[in-house]
């Protein structure tokens, strides 16, 4: 997916020096270096701020806006089913206009949709990352048959066309199953599919990283001082892995946002009337209303675009900050 990242070899952990008993030299940890470099990257910071803003909107927003399910039939022209007034019926009461046919407030639907879209993207990414990191570390660190089994199963999972599977699964599972129904089931399914089939992307990268880190000098050094397996794993390897983990997590999230939008376009996303950005975009496109009321399509489209852009910018900045060699 993106270029491989290698953790710099010069980040010697202070613990080794401290253990020697010498006066600890005031060195900078990897994290501090990265943070300093990130701070200087204005574009990435802008992306980061937007992300924080979005999260805030997703958490607090739905309580501040109108009910997204209320119909305002008086704002719709019944012959054409289109909103009265230009730009999709923008007014003080409805800053983003209203939807065709139903007259629902677009702003409140976008805000509520943020909640759903981000929830799915974050949870699905989290699932993929957790499984991926676990598998990758185990495979890279222990090697041998554990590595062989995990690598083969990664091959199996990578062989499945993810989009097809998501669509097919959603279509095949009844609308009430495993104790859940409706949107909780749908959201659960989407998270499961994405997490379950996307973990190998993360797994492969982490495995590669673990493999190369395992051979590094500081691990040898720690071992020569008597450190055992778990110590090496937790104190030496994992701290050096969080860089790539963070970067790829940040870059996986926008993929999943676009994924949910694609699923909604194909009709297997969130079930109405719960709003989701992908669902709003899909409505606008498939009903043909985008040609009459372009704002109906532009607004959720812009929301998706800006969110994905922000995550990409922040993720790029993060990666550049953590890798000294790709100086911009």
């Amino acid at each position: 997916m993106t270029a491989p990242l290698e953790a710099p070899a010069d980040a010697a952990p202070e613990t080794v020096l401290a253990g020697v008993g010498a006066k600890a030299i005031e060195g900078r940890s990897l994290g501090q270096i990265a943070w300093m470099r990130l701070r200087r990257d204005k574009v990435a910071i802008a992306g980061g701020i937007f992300i924080l803003f979005l999260i805030l909107v997703a958490i607090v927003g739905p309580h501040l806006v109108q009910d997204p399910t209320v119909y305002n039939a008086n704002l719709i022209d019944p012959t054409l089913s289109a909103p009265r007034g230009p730009f999709g019926g923008i007014s003080l009461a409805h800053p983003f206009g209203v939807e065709p046919v139903t007259g629902r407030d677009v702003l409140s639907r976008v805000v509520n949709g943020a909640q759903v879209s981000l929830l799915i993207a974050f949870l699905a990414t989290a699932l993929a990352v957790i499984i991926g990191v676990f598998m990758g570390v185990v495979a890279g660190f222990f090697g041998g048959w554990a590595d062989a089994v995990i690598a083969r199963s990664m091959d199996v999972f990578l062989a499945f066309p993810l989009l097809l599977f998501a669509i097919a699964l959603v279509g095949v599972i009844p609308s009430s199953a495993f104790g859940l129904s409706g949107n909780s089931l749908r959201i659960g399914l989407l998270i499961f599919v994405i997490g379950f089939f996307a973990w190998p992307y993360m797994g492969r990268i982490i495995r590669g990283q673990t493999l190369s880190l395992r051979e590094r000098e500081f691990v040898d050094a720690a071992r020569s001082l008597g450190a055992r397996g778990p110590y090496v794993l937790f104190r030496e390897l994992l701290p050096n892995l969080w860089g790539p983990i963070l970067v790829y997590t940040t870059l996986l999230i926008p993929t999943n946002i676009l994924f949910e939008a694609a699923l909604s376009y194909l009709g297997v996303g969130i079930i109405p009337p719960t709003p989701s950005w992908g669902g709003m975009l899909s409505d606008a496109v498939n009903s043909g209303f985008y040609a009459i009321d372009p704002m109906y399509m532009i607004i959720p489209g812009l929301a998706i675009f800006l969110t994905v852009l922000a995550f990409n910018l922040f993720g790029d900045g993060l990666r550049d900050a953590l890798d000294p060699r790709s100086a911009r």
Binding site: Y71, S81, P100, D283, N286, G288, I292
Partner: protein, 587 residues
């Protein structure tokens, strides 16, 4: 859902004539004009040649096999390659709902107290390979409909109506009798006569044989499940190539004799149908002239609708016929608290009918707000008579009457409202909007609805049409629509309100209404041979169903159709509620 959704028309459409009482010869034919195609044959011509292009946003909804299809668009299209015993007269206006002989020479001759129907078929009709059509070919076609495993998608009238035999007739593929003529209820005493023996009198049988299932099939050329790829044609066109879900090409049938078939024409030199085209693409191609007809015939999408209605030159090239569908909400009489009629009446009063109409597309694309069930093209319906019957103020107070609704709630013992579920087809945007509109309007009197959407494919087979499921999930309101298989009261009402039609799976009497008054009126339909008397029952059934508050009518569906300027002989056939596909030509 997106892409393939639109246009899965559930059953036959019957259309109305709009306002005028004109017949086909109602004054000089205008060259153009909004709704001119409903009452006049536009661009009449006998010019041959050209390629007629159809497109559809889905594939063939069920099958091109005339014995295995149940959609209006297919029954319309199949007249190009199949000749059933009877058909609907090809003419604009009211006469388009009349059933007239096609392969037969005359309507059935009734004898034996209504139990025997005899038809004579024309002696010089040929299949596309030149073989003569005989009555055994018609009998074989009817026999095929008994194999519900191979042909499950068509109607099941013949197994239901014909005199039974023991053991039950298994269909021609398991038929061990000579020449595969094992169905005893149908006799062919000579090659031009076919005799049907019914189990019980059924006065509407002429309508039943107008279904494409009686189109002859040569037993030695039948290919079972593969017959749909190339049905042996008796109509003006025959299949040249068919790739399922992709494209169907038809060419003129050299053995078709126009003298035997006045209801069809053989004008274009090629007919091409392209399937699974993006719905917006269909409209754009239609307006650009790349295609001439949108196969499902249910009208254009919102974007094209706006363009057409706001551009006078385009509006003059469009028609807004009644499609023959009623969209309504079934109020299930067995789901508490809707078991109490007053709770149902509360729903009738409280619903905002204007919003429901808007949900379906407004007055042009949705239809006219209805206060009774049967649309105006059903013979003898309240709507056709022009008399007003509006128990719940649907036309006088379309926003709903909250005071009366609350009174009804008091009477049913739920003064603060109650909760129930509403179910709808989740891949039909109009039904989704309608369900949400109901949720909003009923909430005004405290009736709380929870939404349960299911895909069309499983709607009646697994959910709304399974009474057990409906009861256990408290689905009190069921969004549905209906178009009758033939344009009279029986066709309209039997399956949706007769107590005997309640079925454990695939149920269409979604209100589970079992009113003896309604049942007996419908039963009388079968045995009353006097057509005028029969049709007088229709209005009575309609009014009784409304008095029972079993159905909340929404709209009598209309479709906004674009009449391509390249078409000749184009007009709306009232039975199908769309353009007559059997007579089209090109300029």
């Amino acid at each position: 859902m997106g892409v393939t959704a639109f246009g899965a028309v559930a059953a036959l459409a019957l259309a109305a004539c709009s306002s005028s009482t004109s017949t086909t010869s109602g004054g000089p034919t205008p060259a153009t004009g909004f709704n001119a195609g409903i009452t006049h044959v536009m661009n009449p011509s006998s010019q041959k040649g050209g390629t007629l292009n159809f497109a559809s946003s889905s594939g063939i909804p069920d099958s091109t096999d005339p014995g295995n299809t149940y959609y209006a668009q297919m029954w319309n299209l199949s007249r190009l390659y199949a000749m059933p015993l009877m058909t609907y007269k090809s003419c604009p206006g009211k006469c388009g709902g009349q059933v007239v002989p096609m392969l037969a020479t005359a309507p059935g001759v009734i004898s034996d107290n209504g139990l025997t129907w005899t038809y004579h078929i024309q002696p010089n009709v040929h299949f596309e390979d030149g073989t003569l059509v005989t009555s055994s070919d018609v009998k074989y076609a009817v026999e095929r409909t008994f194999d519900r495993g191979k042909f499950p998608l068509g109607p099941g009238y013949f197994p239901a109506l014909l005199a039974p035999q023991k053991p039950a007739y298994p269909g021609p593929y398991k038929d061990r009798s000579k020449n595969l003529m094992g169905l005893k209820a149908v006799e062919t005493p000579n090659p031009t006569t076919i005799v049907f023996h019914l189990a019980k009198p059924f006065a509407d049988f002429n309508y039943v044989v107008a279904i494409p299932q009686t189109a002859p099939v040569p037993p030695n050329k039948d290919t079972g499940a593969n017959y749909q790829l190339h049905p042996i044609s008796t109509g003006p066109y025959m299949f040249q190539s068919y790739q399922i879900n992709k494209q169907l090409t038809m060419v003129p049938n050299p053995h078709w004799n126009p003298a035997t078939d006045p209801n069809a024409k053989q004008l274009p030199s090629k007919i091409v149908l392209t399937f699974n085209v993006n719905p917006n693409d269909v409209d754009n191609r239609l307006l650009a002239g790349d295609i001439q007809v949108d196969l499902p015939g249910t009208g254009v999408q919102a974007a094209a609708r706006t363009k057409i209605l706001t551009t006078p030159s385009l509006k003059a090239q469009s028609d807004n016929p009644v499609s023959g569908f009623s969209w309504f909400f079934g109020l299930n009489t067995r789901v508490p608290p809707l078991t109490n009629i007053h709770c149902r009446m509360a729903i009738e009063y409280a619903a905002n009918k204007t919003n429901n109409q808007t949900a379906y597309g407004g007055p042009f694309a949705g239809g006219a707000i209805a206060s009774t069930v049967a649309p105006p093209n059903v013979v003898g319906s309240v709507a056709a008579s022009g008399k007003k019957f509006d128990l719940y103020e649907a036309t006088t107070k379309p926003q709903g009457d909250l005071t009366k609704a609350k009174q009804q709630l008091q009477q049913c013992g739920q003064p603060n409202g109650f909760s129930t579920g509403i179910t709808y087809r989740s891949d039909r945007p109009k039904e989704v909007s309608a369900a949400q509109a109901m949720q909003a309007s009923l909430a005004r009197v405290g009736i709380k609805l929870t939404l349960h959407g299911f895909p069309t494919a499983t709607y009646t087979s697994n959910f709304a049409g399974v009474p057990k499921y409906v009861h256990s999930h408290d689905l009190g309101i069921i969004v549905y629509g209906w178009a009758p298989d033939w344009p009279d009261g029986y066709g309209e009402f039997y399956y949706i309100v007769h107590g005997a039609a309640i079925s454990p799976v695939g149920n269409t009497n979604l209100e589970e209404l079992n009113d003896p008054k309604v049942n007996s009126l419908l039963d009388k339909f079968a045995t009353t041979t006097d057509a005028a008397l029969r049709n007088s029952y229709t209005a009575q059934i309609d009014m009784q169903v409304m008095r029972d508050a079993a159905i909340l009518p929404n709209v009598f569906a209309k479709a906004l159709l674009y009449r391509s300027p390249k078409l000749t002989n184009v007009y709306v056939q009232s039975y199908y509620g769309m353009y007559n596909y059997a007579v089209l030509g090109l300029k």
